[in-house]
Symmetry: C2
Subunit: 220 residues, 2 copies
């Protein structure tokens, strides 16, 4: 059960005593999912709070024309559905699909509500997490609106490298290019054509191999 100790360290529980953590963790169970499994679909009632122990999950929705737009990629250590649980509407507003075999810990929604009500530490952690995520999203939106595909992609690669703790000198792309394109709201074709342009910024991508040679981090 090494997964349990992993979950103990997520930010949601920070500041709690070991015994409090143990008690809370009894409320959840661990499940395994395979690539392409659906966690939930838009409109489904929100039943669980999720903590990803390993693997990857994409959150996405479909445009009117049937194109998938990925709004977030969640990886090990991330949580899902915090927003859905405290919002008034009790149904999901997007789809969630497993894109890499995953281990996921699930808690009933009421568990989270209770935890937030009874432990002010938990509710403050949640507030912090939601704020954090909100801030991310704001930046994302404004980037989306004001940056060229080249900048977006450069940004994305650097973000990815940082948050996944990869070696900037050279790493293997952890996502398919189609997924990245969907995440950046562009077509696969545009993504392909954008890759070569990154060299001017000191980023080279060959196949699935990336190296961020001396490219500075984007300001804001």
């Amino acid at each position: 059960m090494l997964n349990i100790s992993f979950v103990k360290n997520i930010s949601l529980f920070s500041g709690l005593s070991e015994t409090e953590k143990d008690m809370l963790l009894t409320g959840g169970s661990i499940y395994f999912y395979n690539r392409k499994d659906t966690l939930f679909r838009r409109g489904d009632p929100v039943m669980h709070f999720y903590v990803i122990c390993s693997g990857q999950v994409k959150l996405f929705h479909e445009t009117a024309e049937g194109v998938d737009v990925t709004t977030a990629i969640r990886i090990a250590g991330d949580t899902m559905c915090t927003t859905g649980i405290f919002a008034l509407h009790a149904s999901h507003h997007m789809h969630a699909e497993v894109i890499k075999d995953s281990t996921i810990m699930e808690f009933p929604v009421q568990w989270l509500k209770d935890a937030a009500r009874e432990h002010s530490t938990v509710s403050l952690n949640l507030l912090s997490a939601l704020s954090q995520r909100g801030r991310r999203q704001e930046m994302d939106t404004q980037n989306q609106a004001s940056m060229t595909p080249v900048q977006l992609l450069a940004n994305f690669l650097q973000q990815t490298c940082t948050t996944q703790g990869l070696d900037p000198q050279g790493f293997t792309l952890p996502f398919s290019k189609t997924l990245i394109a969907s995440r950046l709201c562009m077509t696969r074709e545009t993504l392909s054509r954008t890759l070569p342009k990154l060299k001017e910024m000191g980023i080279s991508v060959t196949g699935t191999h990336v190296s961020l040679h001396g490219s500075q981090v984007m300001k804001h």
Copy 2:
């Protein structure tokens, strides 16, 4: 002091007893601002939690080329900076400018943190509010990415009409067109050219007068 009783009714305080509300409200003070006043700028330390009693405030940032992008328009009853207060970074990440003479109640940041820690009702209200706002923003982002200017504008007008409680049969635009364009991430020119196209959707705009003749609400 009719403003005080107005503030008592915002969702942040719902579920609290009158005496609790009165006690909390002693922590804030009311200020008056004029059009074009700056509430705060990006990078400033987050000092206050704001509740708008009357007027309008825009939250915006500048692109690299110096263009303003408005990310939100806040009106009477709205709060500001909830996110900023609970996020780790203690500085604002966007500018706030008063766009219509306003009355605003301000509380010190610590006041909100304390209130959240000591009243689980308040922290749950905050969680709900943040979730709500997060959901709005997600929809916004996805709309921005997948809708044409015509749809965006139609959407915006309907939203505005609803949230401001205006008469769909005919009302006066509560914002300048430049502001709307900035909010919808398009140029003034594009907005102008889009207005006539709305007639096909049963929306007519003449000058600052709008009527939403039988236009259905956009799904999702």
